[in-house]
């Protein structure tokens, strides 16, 4: 099951809604739930639906099991009645075409938005010192989602893209025991980490990693959160990055030498909360050392990060305002 965060055309920016895809339509889960509850004459259908399906996916995950149960039941109900025929308790529109909804990055303002290196055999050969998965933090204000342009920053001559798989946290914890780590994962989404590689190389000399990774549109996230995949399913999700159609990265978590449990245990030392994520990426399998062999982007380049299980992020690189390129 996939969930999305979006805005309807006429909605104010803070009136975000959570959607699920059913029968090729995007279902407004809040109203669909109200419809489901109102069947049995529940007089509090609207209030309860708004409680189960609040305005952000982070808040939904923080509601815990009761919201996840409601999600399962509402989606099953929509499949049974047919999304097209579903209406709210007072006849409101519930199902939308993709063109009627402006999708947003599914996770909006996490406390912890970490990216850690994908430690496959190729990376370990390239960076033998990378024993412990190290990571960096992407500022939430850099997030964009599918379709948004990647704006070339004035301060760089060299942009690079890395595909990542982001594990979305559903349950708070701190210093999580690896044996319990799996319970803390609510779902998974895609992330493209855009790097100004020239700046990044310079910052690397002083063991920092800030400007080169954090500028407007330097983090593409989405399009959906695939909820609670089974362990085997998650490990075999294929993620591929193409640049103007040429395959540049391709990986699945099963190739990672660290287990999901080890990664969650390590990064939960700082404490994690619902809506946080831990993204794993930059597989070196096709490209070798990423610092030496970046995926060269140009103005006009199309970057696609896709996974049959989750969806696709597609972005075109455009010139920044006032940039003489």
């Amino acid at each position: 099951m996939h969930i999305y965060l979006g805005l309807l055309e006429k909605s104010l920016p803070d009136q975000t809604r959570i959607f699920s895809a059913v029968d090729g339509k995007l279902l407004d889960l809040n109203l669909a739930c109200a419809a489901y509850l109102a069947r049995s004459g529940d007089p509090t259908a609207y209030e309860r639906a708004a409680f189960y399906f609040p305005e952000t996916i982070g808040a939904l995950l923080a509601r815990g099991q009761q919201s996840l149960q409601a999600l399962t039941e509402v989606v099953a109900y929509a499949h049974k009645t047919g999304a097209r025929d579903l209406r709210g308790p007072s006849g409101e529109k519930v199902a939308y075409d993709a063109t009627e909804v402006r999708l947003l990055p599914p996770v909006q303002n996490p406390d912890k938005s970490f990216v850690v290196g994908f430690s496959d055999q190729a990376r370990i050969e390239a960076m033998p010192k990378a024993e412990i998965p190290t990571g960096f933090y992407k500022l939430p204000q850099t997030f964009v989602t599918n379709g948004a342009p990647i704006i070339w920053p004035k301060f760089s001559e060299e942009l690079d893209a890395d595909a990542c798989l982001a594990l979305v946290i559903g349950k708070a914890g701190k210093r999580i025991d690896p044996a319990q780590a799996w319970e803390h994962i609510a779902g998974v989404t895609l992330l493209v980490d855009i790097t100004a590689r020239d700046v990044n190389r310079r910052e690397g000399l002083t063991t920092n990693n800030l400007l080169g990774k954090n500028f407007p549109s330097s983090t593409a996230l989405g399009p959906s959160v695939l909820m609670k995949p089974a362990r085997k399913e998650l490990e075999s999700i294929e993620v591929e990055l193409t640049v103007d159609g040429n395959s540049k990265q391709k990986f699945a978590l099963r190739d990672c030498v660290f287990t999901i449990e080890q990664l969650i245990a390590r990064w939960s030392i700082l404490g994690i909360k619902p809506g946080d994520f831990l993204a794993i990426g930059a597989s070196m399998a096709l490209n070798g050392d990423r610092l030496q062999n970046p995926v060269p982007l140009k103005i006009g380049t199309t970057i696609r990060c896709s996974s049959p299980a989750i969806g696709e992020l597609s972005h075109q690189v455009v010139a920044g305002k006032g940039l003489p390129r």
């Binding site: 010192k129 990571g135 063991t207 954090n214 500028f215 990064w267």
Partner: protein, 317 residues
Amino acid sequence: MKLATFCYQEQERLGAVDGAGRMVDLHKAYASYLREVESNPAGDELARLTLGRDMVDFLRRGENGLPAARKALAHVTAKPNAAGNAMLDPNQIRLMSPVPRPGALVSAGKNFSDHVAEMASKKGPSAPVAFLKLPGTVTGPEDDIPHPPEVKNLDYEVELAIIIGKPCVDVSRDEALDYVAGYAAFNDISARDIIRGENKTGIHLMGKSFPGFAPMGPYLVTADEIPDPQNLKLKLSVNGEIRQDSNLSYMIFKIRDMIVYWSQMGLSPGDVLTTGTPRGVAAGRKPDQPPWWLKPGDIVEAEVEHVGRLRNRIVAE
């Protein structure tokens, strides 16, 4: 003006401090001003709209928020009894960081010539160096700092925090300070052993971002009260013993340079830059024998001249 965020009856409130050190609840004070002076029947609602829901939201209001806060403070100071219960005794409240949840917390490294020398770096950097501390690490000026069990080498770094007040993108050196809302004292708590491990593979993150590793405050002192932020004394003591004693004039990249450089990534109201620290950190004090680190029970006081002092106790987690 000294702006604050404080906790009163388990609620986060926006405040300002009067000349006698008393805390004024800005929403209550401005609502009272609107009702009593401007005879506005919708005082409460208008106060919420004008001042915003927290400090970042207040700063986002730009030119509207600050004048309202000044009127509110003057109103309550003139008539402390008339203005509801807007005036609070310091022992009724717990001070929080003036900006409890900055959008971005950009902390400079290697930015004082004396500190670069003590850390055995060959030379200073060619461009400003900084890292992100997680905004969730920010803590209050008097809060306890948990000593994580994973950490063996816990250290301090007194710094000045620069709080951005306006959207700030690609600004020039001349206008850089116009984007500053105000200043606060800052202590960049650092886990040296974790950072050493992280440095081997390129980037440090965890060693700077355990919960409570960023005490900030006590107030946001508005920029008009600090005419020359580049010339302020910095001092840090542990259990009364002075360990850092320097001046912001020794910064390699000045406050203006930092704002110019980091405005390239786009800064927003409520984002915070910190200056980096001068010499005297535990990791740099070679004569400390046996090796000395912060331990549970230590009281760390970090002070910036004219801006204020933080006083935090290290506690075992």
